[in-house]
Amino acid sequence: MISVQNIQVVFGKGTPLQKQALNGVSLTIEQGSFVTVIGSNGAGKSTLLGVLAGDVLPSAGQVTIGKTDVTRKGTAARAGLVARVFQDPLTGSCGALSIEENLALAAKRGEARGLTAALGPKRREHFRERIAELNLGLENRMGDRMDLLSGGQRQAVSLVMATLAGSEVLLLDEHTAALDPGMAEFVMNLTQKIVSERKLTTMMVTHSMRQALDYGHRTIMLHGGEIVLDVAGDSRKELQVEDLIAMFRRIRGQTLDDDALLIG
């Protein structure tokens, strides 16, 4: 379960560029629920994700993940609770390390790291099996450096990495935005499979309204640092991308001129 209460985030406080990135956002995501988050550029969706991941510490409010109050905990300190896939395939994995070394690193997420060999025969076999499930043929390239892989392959491996160690929440940060359409679809299907198989509490930030409605149980729209739309259940099933745009216009009382929101 994730709970954020009255979160305030201000960037550049006291400067001419001061920006209220999140303004009193409160949100509860139940155990096993898959929530998608949309919003135009600067709406605060990346900030919200950052607040959950620990990259951004709020100036006011409370963040609870599972049963732990993580409001003041940095990224590394809460990593045991949070699994994450980044937008940029280069950020989420280590290009200079091999595929299996990346997996070994992720398998110990949030745990103490000792002097045991990172790649014992047992772990190697386990990693190989998990990578083989992707059907990308990567199980024969476990020793290859991560930066030899394509962006889509790296995201697929990142998804496996996110599930090697236990976590309370999976955060997906526009993780298909940098991929070509075919690979994006592959990664989304894989995401769906992993999330439902493992019943992960998931929050996915996306640039695509289509994706936001097609996947998950609940959709949230952010605008100007506030939640302006929160739909789930039957009302969400009937929702079309066009409805979403109309609803967005009605709530904000302004025209939507951000092309990025309409695409997809």
Partner: protein
């Protein structure tokens, strides 16, 4: 080049292999350009020399030297991590300060260790000639260091350190406290360099406050020569490359200086070093197809 000169070069190369491995940890693993080594090398020599003269066991003296080097590394790490001073500048500050520290430790610019017992004393007079004993003895120590560092870098803890240098953001997302990794890595790196300094003092019979000048260039030269020769093929190969690079560097210097044809003299050493390092840096580009 005479046999003695050759084995002398190998010996010095093996001593500086500790520096090379330390520099590899800082520059390559942590991506931290660390000039502290110019201070921690003579620090190791100074501490070990003073302690040996005071009657301390030479092995213990070398261990204390390592601790002193580790502290120097931690100071640099703290300036960078805690006080946000640019890494290169932080290391220069520590290096400058260490010059004074080293003078204080020794009480004078140069301490001689003639006739004092060293780690090597028990091995002289066992039938092998001295100029074989020294490289053999140091070679065994280098082998141990390489194996230990290799096993460490391929452990869970070592992987966390490598990730810190390669992709700090990803490392933090995996729960790695990257600041702590920088402290740890800088401590290990400078401890190795200080141990090299301790060996230098014990094999050459003196500690000198100026012996640290250019340590970083020599270490970097060894790392780069190793990479150029063996390529990037995993941690063990890279570490072997450091040792090999360090030895080859010394042999190349020895060759350059002992060939009368070139007309070089000992004072040309720094120029030859710079030329060698430059050559080693350019070589990979030349190989890639000339259009560097």
């Amino acid at each position: 080049m005479s046999l003695i000169a050759f084995w002398g070069a190998v010996e010095l190369g093996l001593v500086y292999a500790f520096v090379a491995v330390g520099v590899f940890l800082a520059f390559r693993v942590l991506d931290f350009p660390d000039l502290t080594v110019d201070g921690s090398f003579p620090l190791g020599a100074a501490v070990t020399a003073v302690l040996i003269i005071a009657g301390v066991n030479p092995w213990l003296a070398a261990c204390v030297a390592m601790v002193a080097g580790a502290v120097a590394g931690i100071v640099t790490a703290m300036l960078n991590v805690r006080f946000k001073i640019l890494n290169l500048l932080a290391s220069i500050l520590t290096m400058i300060a260490l010059f004074s520290v080293n003078l204080r430790v020794m009480g004078k610019p140069n301490v001689a260790l003639i006739n004092a017992d060293t780690m090597l004393s028990p091995f002289y007079g066992l039938g092998l000639r001295d100029f074989y004993v020294r490289p053999l003895f140091i070679g065994v120590l280098v082998l141990i260091a390489v194996v230990v560092v290799w096993r460490f870098l391929e452990s869970d803890a070592g992987l966390a350190m490598r990730a810190t240098g390669a992709n700090a953001r990803m490392a933090r997302a995996q729960g790695v406290d990257t600041n702590r990794q920088i402290y740890l890595g800088m401590a290990i790196s400078n401890a190795l360099v200080a141990f090299g300094g301790a060996l230098f003092a014990q094999t050459n019979g003196f500690a000198d406050v100026t012996s640290g000048v250019g340590t970083i260039v020599v270490g970097l030269a060894a790392v780069i020569i190793g990479e150029t020769l063996l390529g990037a093929r995993g941690i063990l190969i890279a570490l072997i490359g450091c040792v090999l690079g360090s030895i080859l560097y010394r042999i190349a210097i020895q060759l350059a200086l002992s060939t009368d044809m070139l007309g070089l003299q000992a004072s040309d050493l720094n120029f030859v070093t710079a030329a060698l390092v430059t050559f080693a840096l350019i070589l990979p580009r030349l190989r890639r197809g000339g259009a560097a």
